[in-house]
Amino acid sequence: MTRASVWLILAIAILVAVTMISPPYPVAQINQPLQPSLGQAIVAVNNAEAAGATANETAPLVALLNKALELNREASSLPTNQTEQRNAILSSVNQILTNVTNQANDLTITSAQRTYTNKIITYATGLVLAVVGTFAYVFCVELYKRYRIKRTFQMKVKPT
């Protein structure tokens, strides 16, 4: 009985592991040699966006990435005997992808710094508002006290 349950748990564990390792949906590979550099470039651009880069800042990088795709298509459409030309194009594609990765990494640093500064400014503004609010409270309390004192001294005693 114990053995059966152990085997069952083992089978479930293997199934779960296999499901986690291999995605349950079909995948396809874009031009095999380009894959690592293309993946790196996309991750670098996504990191820049996550660090706070705006669409205006990432647009030139996306334009370069699309240029790389276009060149890749051009290389794929070449006849098989034009190996030299294909390699030359693929080399320039790799160069573009490397440039994009480097630019995206720089953008990540500047965007992260800007986001950090903006955060500091935002929370400092909150602090200043709290200080101003406290002074306003004190001022209002003081005004109210003076008003009450003034009212007290303005009171008339009516003889009964």
Binding site: P23, P24, Y25, P26, V27, A28, Q29, I30, Q35, P36, L38, G39, I42, V43, V45, N46, E49, A50, A55, T58, A59, L61, V62, L65, N66, L69, N118, K119, T122, Y123, T125, G126, L127, L129, A130, V131, G133, T134, Y137, V138, F139, E142
Partner: protein, 214 residues
């Protein structure tokens, strides 16, 4: 303004703490990114840029060399730059369509692919002008042999439909997955996998174009 009593000082500190909590919470809520649903919009429009007039005179019964003009578009709402690929497949009635449950793409032969990087909230739209340039009739079936898309010709190995009815073009949206470095049919959003695909049906009962009217 002097605070003479300890009670007044305590009140002041309490007011300051309450105000600082309120203002910082407001600042956090105002600047924190709101969670949003991540998805793609994928659509085909007719020649006028509307979801209509997909075929000349709204007649899906096509002939050889009758050009069809569509606009294919993808809008990215994934919150980041995405690499997408559109796979165009030619199918008939019997071939399986993509499955939204098992995330399996159609088993129809792939004609061509279009790929592009799209900015967040960006739309990629391109013209898709196609025509069947060669087809034959054999044993009650119409066989499509050649198709032209955006001035590129694609030879098809004998793809047929019974009496020429119910051919279809299937367009599937494949998305680059950064964790696997591969294109996947569909995308992941909030722990779920989603797919997007389109199909447009047409007939070709008589390959030869009708004779011009006198």
């Amino acid at each position: 303004m002097k605070f003479k009593s300890t009670q007044n000082k305590r009140t002041l500190i309490a007011v300051f703490i309450v105000l600082i909590v309120l203002s910082e919470t407001t600042m956090f809520l105002a600047t924190a990114p709101r969670p949003q649903e991540r998805f793609f919009q994928f659509y085909v429009l007719g020649s006028n840029g509307l979801a209509a007039d997909y075929y000349p005179q709204n007649n899906p019964n096509l002939h050889v060399n009758s050009p069809i003009s569509w606009n294919v578009a993808v809008t990215n709402f994934m919150g980041s730059v995405q690499l997408v690929e559109i796979r165009v497949k030619l199918a008939n009635e019997t071939i399986s369509a993509p499955d939204n449950v098992s995330y399996a793409p159609s088993s129809a032969p792939e004609l061509m692919t279009f790929d592009q990087f799209i900015l967040d909230n960006g739309t990629w739209q391109f013209p898709f002008v196609w025509s069947i340039t060669n087809a034959t009739t054999a044993a009650g079936s119409i066989h499509i042999l050649r198709i032209q898309v955006n001035n590129e010709t694609y030879n098809i190995s004998n793809w047929s439909a019974n009496n020429g009815y119910n051919f279809r073009l299937i367009l599937e949206l494949w998305v680059w997955q950064t964790n696997t470095n591969m294109l996947t049919f569909g995308w992941d959003s909030n722990g779920e996998h989603r797919t997007a695909w389109l199909q447009l049906w047409f007939n070709m009962t008589t390959p030869a174009p009708p004779p011009p009217q006198a």
